[in-house]
């Protein structure tokens, strides 16, 4: 292990390290701690220039209550869920299939199709922006949740295919050969042999996709406008325009908006990290 395990270092260093950990964490998370404190302050603190001090009284409940009752936040949240969940399901389902095809079968175009997905996934959004917006308009899907979902599914299939294909590549191929010898059809091999083995990959990809799509801002402002269809990331910015100096409400709103992916991350942490670090170890 590197650096030297702390148990093997002098006692004084062990104590310093243990003391330093929480200090470093507080420094690192200072921006978030600041928002959290902002969100429980009363309005008057900001008027009296008590920005960075301790809240003069706890107003958390009423701030959050206002976010939920007097703003469009609930609608934006609902939109975000309506966008994120179908996208995750769609992109993961499509990539299970493409990943299976590219990971199991040997055919000439295999690597080129794979590279098409990988390369497409790294493309800058701006090169797609005008044509995709135009296409969505022509399909009559501009400013609809369906329009946004369809694009997200298509685009994320690139990354998901990269992920799934590499995962399937690492499975023991003998299993599939054995199934073939038994005369099991290819479709049933996918459904009954490979898919059950893919559960960890599906879990990893689902949380990862959830976070990515939930946090998307660019496509939200390109393909939608207004409260009926925009997700929470776009909502926060119009919230900002509406309540410019109401820092307590802005903070409460931001925290509410950030909560679902954070909850997702804590619930599925192991999978999340396994997904992100795919390929980081050899």
């Amino acid at each position: 292990m590197f650096p030297t395990p702390i148990e093997r270092t002098p006692r004084s260093w062990q104590v310093t390290y243990q003391a330093f950990l929480p200090l470093a964490l507080i420094l690192w998370l200072l921006p978030l701690i600041a928002v959290a404190i902002f969100s429980v302050k009363p309005d008057s603190d900001f008027a009296n220039a008590n920005y960075w001090g301790w809240p003069s009284e706890f107003k958390g409940f009423s701030n959050y209550w206002l976010v939920f009752t007097a703003s469009d936040m609930p609608q934006y949240m609902l939109n975000s869920f309506k966008i994120t969940i179908p996208t995750v399901i769609g992109a993961v389902a499509l990539s299970c299939m493409t990943g299976f095809a590219l990971g199991i079968y040997k055919f000439k175009a295999n690597i080129w199709i794979f590279f098409m997905f990988v390369a497409g996934n790294f493309v800058p959004f701006q090169i797609l922006m005008v044509p995709v917006r135009d296409l969505t308009l022509q399909l009559g899907l501009y400013n609809t949740i369906t329009g946004l979902v369809l694009f997200h599914v298509a685009f994320q299939t690139g990354f998901c295919t990269l992920f799934m294909r590499n995962f399937i590549r690492a499975l023991p191929f003998e299993l599939i050969e054995a199934a073939r010898v038994e005369g099991i059809s290819e479709w049933r091999i996918f459904w009954f042999v490979v898919l059950p083995l893919m559960k960890p990959a599906i879990a990893a990809l689902s949380v990862l996709m959830f976070t990515f799509i939930w946090n998307d801002y660019f496509w939200a402002i390109v393909l939608t406008q207004g409260v009926e269809s925009q997700p929470v990331t776009a909502g926060i910015t119009s919230f900002n325009a509406q309540y410019r100096a109401a820092y307590h409400l802005m903070s409460a709103g931001s925290i509410v908006a950030a909560l679902p992916p954070v909850a997702m991350f804590f619930l599925m942490q192991r999978h999340f990290i396994a997904g992100l670090t795919l390929g980081a170890v050899k």
Binding site: L29, M97, V118, V123, M129, T161, V222, T277
Partner: protein
């Protein structure tokens, strides 16, 4: 009836013989069609569109390379390009910073798992929220940055209103989540470092920096490679933070190509789709260099196995 069953037999055996050739294409079809439709074709459409003058509604007018010529004389384009280079260079700091934090956290003390996940936190949060918070930090009237600067005797500054500092200020906000990402990559990489090599290094008297540089870092190559890829792509994709924190200002000083393109094509300045597409093509070609390098390394690896 007998004939029908023969035909069916024939059919099923044809399927039986060819199913290993056909199945992959059946599985690939939906994914490929979707991807071609929404990702691959639009790239070519943008190339084509960059040769037109178009407001998004009326008739598009063919202008040849005029948009590129205009780009050549456009000051704002060079500001954006320069800022893209600054982003690329400074964003790479996330890699050593991530390694540093990973080394700091690579211990087995009580609660370390919670520390690791809390350090990763910034990455899970939307850049929109990150941008908002940093805007408050930098605020010239009440921002905490000026409080801290005042404490060490430096006069207050308006980071986001200062043409020379604004891009750096935004990049610092971006480095926060990106460092967290690199940290996770390195923490995973450190788990796989060969303990025998470390012991051998210790016996040879390697310690601290020497150990890190000659024994650990080479073994972290896969993690470094991925960190490099995601950081470069992230730097070139930067849009959310700029849009939220400054909207390209002051006077366009914090624009990058991705933001300038959006501004030209989809804002009150113009709806100049063709000109926007030309900017996007330039950004695409820059990114293509990195994508090609990445695919090339993948290809070498595929051939090696």
């Amino acid at each position: 009836m007998a004939q029908a069953s023969v035909a069916q037999d024939h059919q099923s055996s044809w399927w039986h013989r060819n199913q290993q050739q056909i199945t992959p294409w059946l599985f690939l079809a939906p994914g490929i069609l979707f991807f071609l439709f929404y990702v691959i074709f639009p790239i070519f459409q943008s190339f084509n569109l960059s040769l037109y003058e178009w407001d998004g509604l009326g008739q598009a007018e063919y202008v040849g390379l005029y948009n590129y010529e205009e780009l050549y004389w456009d000051e704002a384009f060079y500001t954006s390009l320069k800022n893209n280079v600054i982003w690329l260079l400074l964003y790479l700091l996330a890699i050593p910073a991530g390694l540093f934090i990973a080394l700091f956290l690579n211990q087995t003390v009580t609660g370390i798992r919670l520390y690791k996940s809390l350090f990763f936190f910034p990455f899970v949060i939307s850049q929109v929220v990150v941008g908002l918070v940093f805007t408050w930090f930098y605020d010239p009237t009440f921002g905490i940055l000026n409080v801290l600067l005042g404490a060490v005797g430096i006069p207050p500054m308006n980071v986001l209103g200062d043409e020379n500092w604004v891009t750096v200020g935004i990049i610092v906000a971006g480095l926060w989540p990106q460092t967290a990402y690199c940290m996770i990559l390195y923490l995973t990489g450190l788990n796989a470092v060969d303990p025998e090599q470390i012991e051998a290094g210790r016996l040879d008297g390697a310690k601290g920096w020497k150990m890190l540089w000659y024994i650990i870092v080479p073994q972290l190559r896969p993690a470094t490679f991925i960190a490099f890829v995601v950081t470069i792509i992230g730097a070139l994709r930067s849009f959310d933070l700029i849009s939220v924190m400054t909207n390209g200002g002051p006077f366009g000083a914090s624009r990058v190509l991705s933001f300038y393109m959006f501004e030209v094509a989809l804002s009150e300045y113009g709806f100049r789709m063709g000109y926007g597409a030309a900017i996007a093509v330039v950004l695409f070609l820059i990114m293509l260099a990195f994508i090609a390098y990445f695919l090339w390394s993948m290809y070498k690896e595929e051939k090696a196995r």
